[in-house]
Amino acid sequence: MPKRIPPIRHPRILVVMLLVTIVAVSFLLWKNRPTPSSAPFSNLGGDFTLHSLQGAVSLHDFQDKAVVLMFGYTACPDICPGELATVAAALRQLPAAAQRQIQVLFISVDPARDTLQLLADYVQYFNPRFIGLRGEKAQIDTLVRQYGAFYRFVALPDSALGYAVDHTARLYLIDKQGQLRATAPHNTAPAQLADQLRALL
């Protein structure tokens, strides 16, 4: 009996090790599988409901579309309009069919100054299909947290502006399933952004 044990045990250990290795390698391959499910954003993003001039708008209204979401305010003199102009220019580089599959949402972080009418007029100047969204402060706070963004009011007693709104200046790129896939800096070149938009479709 003691003589027979070693030759039997060794193959068993080898089989177990082989199985463990197979499981581990499979797991690693599965974990690093080449899909664009960008892990950094897996816990960011998600549905929300705000208001446009036309009524309530939710992210899930656009399930057949990719969404470009950005935060801003109309009193912003150059960053926000520059960002909207960049997105509009990037869209123009895509075929008309692709353009129709992308919805741009501009979310005001300045609900006190940005009325629904002002937001609509403002964003449609860049592209008639852009939608401006407004919410109460609590709603915006929740959404900003949800997307890992930031905004705050800063009193400017020496300026006629009264207050500025510091805010995240980047674009949130959301796929047709409503999943946040990527972000892009506000000053991304239109051609580069067009590539990122194509990848969303």
Binding site: T74, I79, G82, V123, L156, S159, A160, L161, A169, N187
Partner: protein
């Protein structure tokens, strides 16, 4: 040998003195950004080049369009911040670029949209230079005078000016409004 050197020195001093008697600030590629309907504010951008031997500060701006202030955008990571500044320092022989995402002249409380093809009168005040008056064209959003580029020197990146801007103590000067 010393003679031509002396002459050159005298000529140089003469040039510097002559230069100091009139404006040493050159303005390059000024433009005002067109505004979407309803937008209350816009901004003017330009290159301010100090050809003199003394640093100069832009201390105020006035425009025909509306109330105008000196402002600066700063990125803090992905966060955009905008703050008024009292002055913009233009180093001797150096430049300051007013551009989107950086220094700008903020036009506040416009009564109507600024459209491409229109222009804005702008008056700039400096601490040790005569004031300058400019007529600045309104350009569409996203268009800068660098494209198409004819004034080659104006389109070059200016790391020195950038560096000086960052180290400039701009927040605690006396200022005029």
């Amino acid at each position: 040998m010393p003679q031509p050197l002396h002459l050159a020195t005298i000529a140089l001093i003469g040039l510097l003195l002559a230069g100091s008697l009139h404006a040493e600030i050159r303005v390059g590629q000024p433009y005002v950004r067109a505004t979407p309907p309803g937008a209350a504010n816009s901004a003017a951008f330009m290159l301010l080049h100090n050809t003199g031997t003394q640093p100069t500060q832009l201390v105020g701006a006035r425009s025909s369009a509306t109330h105008t202030e000196l402002h600066r955008h700063m990125m803090n990571g992905t966060r955009m911040q905008m703050r008024p500044v009292n002055t913009m320092m233009i180093p001797a022989g150096g430049k300051v670029e007013l551009k989107p995402g950086g220094y700008h002249l903020m036009l506040l409380g416009l009564s109507g949209p600024l459209r491409r093809g229109e222009s804005v009168e702008m008056h700039l005040n400096f601490d040790n230079q005569p004031p300058l008056s400019l007529t600045i064209p309104v350009l569409p959003i996203g268009v800068t005078p660098q494209q198409p580029d004819r004034q080659h020197h104006g389109a070059e990146p200016m790391p020195h000016a950038e560096h000086r801007q960052r180290t400039m103590p701009s927040m605690n000067h006396n200022h005029q409004h």
